[in-house]
Subunit: 327 residues, 2 copies
Amino acid sequence: MKGVVVKQGDTRNELELATMSQPEPAHDELLIKVHHAAVNRTDILNREGKSGYAVNPILGVEVAGEVVDTNGSELFAAGDSVMGLVNGGGYAEYAVMPADRAMKIPESLLFAEGAAIPEVFLTAYQTLFWIGKLQHQETVLIHAGASGVGTAAIQLAKQLCNAQVIVTAGSERKLQFCRELGADILINYKEQSFDEEILTKTDGEGVDLILDFIGADYWDKNINSIKHGGRWVLIGVLGGGELSNVNLMSIMSKYIQLTGTLLTPRSDAYKEELSQEFSRRVTKYFERGKIRPIIDRVYSIEEANEAHKYMEDNRNIGKIILDMNNA
Amino acid sequence: MKGVVVKQGDTRNELELATMSQPEPAHDELLIKVHHAAVNRTDILNREGKSGYAVNPILGVEVAGEVVDTNGSELFAAGDSVMGLVNGGGYAEYAVMPADRAMKIPESLLFAEGAAIPEVFLTAYQTLFWIGKLQHQETVLIHAGASGVGTAAIQLAKQLCNAQVIVTAGSERKLQFCRELGADILINYKEQSFDEEILTKTDGEGVDLILDFIGADYWDKNINSIKHGGRWVLIGVLGGGELSNVNLMSIMSKYIQLTGTLLTPRSDAYKEELSQEFSRRVTKYFERGKIRPIIDRVYSIEEANEAHKYMEDNRNIGKIILDMNNA
């Protein structure tokens, strides 16, 4: 079969479509004919040799496709349309996935749409609810609102908790898209100081929860923007991972809870529980059209390098998808 | 009445015993004849004009004494022996305290022992259980194990959760005292690298919970010492509040939850709930002698400056008490 790997000895770490052996499903794994995979930042780190935890030479952590071999699992039948997280190996014609974390693609959605769901929606669900403990009608600040996780988080916070959603993004086009998804307060971080804007809009109180993909660049402003006793979930360092001059007293005096998380390196058991809870609670929202996967652009599998470049340029609103059908 | 205040215009911020008017209990406050007060780091900050939230010119946030006037409260009777947190005004002959946060002094304990309980035990209880969510038989790292909060936390973690307790301290004398209180693993931070020692003793896993009074100086070693998904409660910055070079990726990749807290500036409602829960759960341990208040030294109220100096030199094991009886 065909699969996308990093070109051997290439100094620019480019990707290439290589001929690989088809994966053998282990006990309790499904064999899936992949229709679409999706691109994630973790794939870029992996391509650059920086992720530290990928073992599969084939990139990709999520797919949507068709079950070819259930391998004895009673959860699915051959021919079922499924989506979910894989432990690497997603950018390929065939992939294996633990059966207990596979999710049925919600009715009426296409494979490409299914591939746009797992990583960003599970990350958003995990950070908003498992870690961030978002409560009904609380206020949440979602940075990078037009990103994959951002667009998922806006919809989940709005639909499941009727939260007041504040987003930051760097263009009017991105902000208007966030509004269509349900965001209440839009802040262009290039034109406004987001902390001042938030304090004005929340009567000086600040927000209950921050989803932070940015890290260092936003540190001080996040401290200013958060309520006393607020929760702050750190899930990315697009704005730098190295901080200088942190004032710990501000964390103490505002009783801030800062929690770091990642999804990809989590255990199989964790991904299983998260996928199952998400599927149970959120599938109906997809089926009723209340929540939708957001696709920016679909590339053919031969264009994996272009797809990565497009994400690195931060040009996307929502997900970047790879179509395996012509591999 | 007599009360201890900062000497006006004194460049060294020394304390003096002044003649003040007796406080008037507001609605729902008890008037208490103070027998003993205790010294806390927050008093030192207050004396230096650095606390930012003290309004009462008389220092002191905790007392033990006798109810003189219940002011209509049905929770206590005149003559009752009580202990608890006051909103300033503790270093004085009389103090007022909201009735709903006053705690009966456990039977068999003296007033001086009662004064050694509220601030450190409530802080330890709050950080271990409310914020740190310590579970049965988890492993907890308690820095400054021989400090006031440290000695309280060792006993609470051991008695209420049968936790594995690891302490750090700077002398053999302090460490042996921690062992008597129940600490399992003793680390002299001046002679050993505490993170290496902890990883050795926990099979490379690290601890579930860190109580951190130190801040900047221990930052990197705390990161090394904590388990994946561990909780870290920041309740003091004895080792500095300004950090340079924080690597946020380590917080993400270990899924660390860092929470800052302080007790003194919390709301009345918070202190009420904390005091009542603590009293309900822990009084019996004091009465059975399973947990005990730890007093290092009792000063007379005229020696308040010496008492502060003694705390600033970090010479104490447990609490420093002020005796008001000869005021």
